[in-house]
């Protein structure tokens, strides 16, 4: 129970980070991706400061994930799935300016657009499970 509450507060903290960084705003994300327009580097700054913070914590506390259930760090090497999956993800991200974290934070905004996106995202998860797992 305590572990779940901790996970809940970390989700909250993660969400606050996204909100403060303004990454919950799709037009902000698209302004980063639009390199030939009036380029807004904010997203790169968010990513850099997040991963530097995490890297420092990992170094200081000798952290390493016990098992990689949430992402695929155990796998080695570059394969077709990694390249094609990431390419597909990027097209969806570019079309919308939304990725999974900001989508879930935006859920409470009550916009039908966000609901459609999240529903479709879960359809994408299900399609993956159907064809690639179990």
């Amino acid at each position: 129970m305590i572990k779940n509450l901790v996970a809940g507060s970390l989700g909250l903290l993660f969400g606050f980070g996204l909100i403060i960084a303004n990454m919950t705003n799709p037009s902000k994300v698209l302004a980063f991706l639009d390199v030939s327009g009036e380029w807004d580097p904010s997203l790169a700054i968010v990513m850099a400061s997040a991963l530097i913070t995490l890297a420092v914590m990992q170094r200081l506390m000798h952290l390493s994930p016990e098992t990689q259930t949430s992402c695929d760090g155990v796998k080695q090497g570059i394969d077709r799935k990694l390249l094609i999956g990431s390419a597909i993800f990027g097209i969806g991200w570019g079309l919308s300016g939304i990725c999974p974290g900001p989508a879930l934070v935006g859920l409470s905004a009550g916009l039908p657009a966000v609901l459609v996106f999240i529903g479709a995202m879960f359809v994408g998860f299900v399609i993956f499970n159907r064809f690639h797992q179990r």
Binding site: K3, A7, G11, L12, L13, F14, G15, L18, I19, A21, N22, N25, P26, S27, A31, L33, D34, G37, D40, S42, I45, M47, A50, I52, T53, L54, L63, P65, E66, T67, T69, S70, G73, L82, L83, G85, S86, A87, F89, G90, I91, G92, W93, G94, L95, S96, G97, P100, L104, G106, S108, A109, L111, A120, M121, F122, G124, F125, N129, H132
Partner: protein
């Protein structure tokens, strides 16, 4: 057009990194949102509990922020049909590629995973091309 917001971007990034680091300390798990969210699909397992709570926290962050701090700007211009297609691509692609902006882009690169660096370069590239075509070609 959006304003460049260096300070809030850096501060928000530090908070995101801190949350990911603490999840590693407390749960020994990577804060990859696509993996956590897709883990909610049935059948549930021993991992589902903390995942559900993490996502509830994530969802609760916006209303709490509105009460404590103020409005959250969300400008979303894409039509519903485009968002539906985009959502499927984001969901399917993130699972096939083994991660999204958080799992590969932040957590993976922080531990210098070559796979994550390649994945991040790939989705940044296809996203930028997609935006370019949408805004400057079509």
């Amino acid at each position: 057009m959006t304003e460049i917001t260096i300070l809030s971007a850096a501060l928000g990034g530090v908070i995101i990194g801190l949350a990911a680091g603490l999840l590693l300390v407390t749960h020994k798990r990577v804060a990859g949102i696509s993996g956590i969210a897709s883990g909610l699909l049935l059948p549930w397992n021993a991992e589902s509990g903390w995942r559900l709570w993490f996502l509830l926290g994530l969802i609760a962050s916006a209303p709490l922020y509105r009460v404590m701090v103020g409005e959250i700007p969300i400008q979303l211009d894409a039509p519903l049909a485009v968002l539906a297609v985009a959502g499927v691509l984001v969901g399917y692609g993130s699972r096939l590629g083994g991660g999204c902006t958080s799992g590969h882009g932040v957590c993976g690169i922080a531990r210098l995973s070559v796979r994550s660096i390649v994945a991040t370069l790939m989705f940044m590239f296809t996203a930028a091309v997609t935006v370019y075509i949408q805004r400057h070609v079509l």
